[in-house]
Symmetry: C2
Subunit: 316 residues, 2 copies
């Protein structure tokens, strides 16, 4: 047994990337791999996990802290046998920056009518379309955590009118914000809805027909657009497809789905003005993840408190 308590790794990431990142991480600490069935995990005090095997908690009964390999933790909270120990969310500049890249890219793609222009390109058609500018559109961001706040700031900087919604009211400089009781007012102002909410009992199935129908109609793009980079469990895909078919929604950018991978038979793949990415909006930089966990473990062992600990009642 090393002087420092062992850490167990159970990440469904590319193994070569994990190994490369481990070369510079957890100095002086034994690193155990849950993927090795012969590995004795009984001494492990810490676990760095992303979609771990259900057997983890039986094999490692002495864990003191769980570190999530992604921003979301809904997959952990749903696990059977989850011990009552702190769960640390992964908060990292790289994760945040990548998410904002994707959100700004999608908002600009709908503003600048990328699907329509790409269709014209395929047809070799040269035709300028009527073009609103960013300030003519209100982007409503749901979820004002670290990811939401960074997206809000970058969308504003690109010229969009931006408003924000969170369960409990947040104050954001220069941005009008709404809370739980003001969802209708928020939706009525929103031309492009950006979902960056965690999956919790409150947000499961939140994006449904009733919600889509309350978004602003007749804005500068004509019809509202739905962008989701939060969790697929928050969207009712049957309602989403119906809203796109009926014209309640004019377009969508989706990185998350009720079932992932999105089944090849889903009509979403072929819908006009729908942009699909394979849960790739952001990505955990595994080096940053290990740096983060390493530093927090050292602080924890020195008696300091952990940062970004999940509130189990809130679900994030």
């Amino acid at each position: 047994m090393s002087v420092k308590s062992p850490v167990v790794i159970d990440l469904k990431f590319e193994r070569s990337e994990v190994d490369a990142a481990l070369a510079d991480a957890f100095a002086g600490r034994t690193v155990l791999h849950a993927s090795d069935p012969a590995s004795d995990l009984s001494e492990a005090r810490y676990a760095v996990i992303w979609k771990p095997d259900p057997s983890l908690f039986q094999r490692a009964p002495n864990l003191k802290v769980l570190f999530s390999g992604g921003a979301g933790v809904d997959y952990i909270l749903a696990m059977a046998g989850l011990p009552d120990i702190p769960i640390v969310r992964f908060v990292d500049q790289s994760l945040t920056t990548r998410m904002s890249e994707w959100v700004v890219l999608q908002a600009l793609s709908h503003l600048r009518q990328v699907p329509a222009y790409l269709k014209q390109q395929r047809d070799h058609e040269w035709r300028e379309l009527p073009q609103p500018e960013a300030k003519d559109l209100t982007v409503g961001v749901m979820g004002l955590g670290v990811l939401g706040m960074d997206s809000v700031n970058k969308l504003k900087m690109m010229g969009f009118d931006v408003i924000g919604w969170s369960r409990s009211r947040k104050t954001v400089d220069g941005v009008e914000t709404f809370d739980e009781g003001q969802l209708d007012a928020f939706l009525a102002r929103t031309d492009i809805l950006v979902g960056l909410l965690p999956l919790t009992p409150d947000t499961r199935g939140l994006y449904d027909a009733a919600l889509f129908s309350r978004l602003r109609q007749g804005g500068a793009l004509g019809r509202p657009v739905f962008i989701n980079a939060g969790r697929g469990g928050s969207q009712v895909e049957a309602d989403l497809i119906a809203a796109l078919e009926s014209g309640v929604l004019g377009g969508a950018s989706l990185d998350v789905f009720e079932q992932e991978p999105l089944p090849a038979t889903s009509p979403l793949w072929d819908m006009e003005n729908v942009i699909i990415t394979p849960h790739a909006a952001s990505a955990s930089d595994v080096r940053a993840l290990f740096r983060n966990a390493d530093a927090q473990i050292l602080d924890y062992e020195a008696g300091q408190s952990l940062k970004h600990v999940v509130d189990r009642k809130a679900g994030y």
Copy 2:
């Protein structure tokens, strides 16, 4: 004759938009339309123009100032019979913001591998691609005027490493800049080249095989990308096509072309990783154009100097 000297309009824009904008512009001043062949333009002192008829200068021999309806003025400088009077470029927040929307959209589209993901979408294929982040790429912006500077700032804010080039050295906070004599050093650092140069004798045919071959190979995207929103006359399209075919370039976003509309037979339309828009990256807001010209005319008549006057020797 009205108390205020008349202004002639010769804009190849949508006539209904021009008329709507005129309702609120040039109060107390006679507005003449060059498109009306019977209109007597001999008293006109000012002209607001975009690709005007060649006969304009014969019909309006008493012009004192020309206002360009776009950011570029190469089309004016090439006109036969151009009188020796000030030419005012159109500088406007809306024009600038729209250009930056397009530039940031294109840079993000190549960073986030939009053409590859759209192909996977068409094939109903769910596959995450290896993904660098913005800071791993250096965007080199050529042209550091009003448009270039706004793009530089917004690209930086999105996380890109940004460097800038201009004929004479410009100082930009937090951005390494290069001048005429340092083009090689600038290109050798550049993963994504953004062209925002005016068309002048110096920039005609600037983007050619020799230039493309000096861009950085082996950066985070593998191969360099060329984005042009300046003028098509600056690019040698045969060289551009050859560079895309041979892999000297990995992709391009093009809003301008040697010949516009881009002929339907151009191979660019169908090239993988090439994004084409029909000279729509930015657009003059005709209301802003008239507001701008109106205010400058009043200043000029009050003896003040005009702003954004073209340096004919430099060509912009």
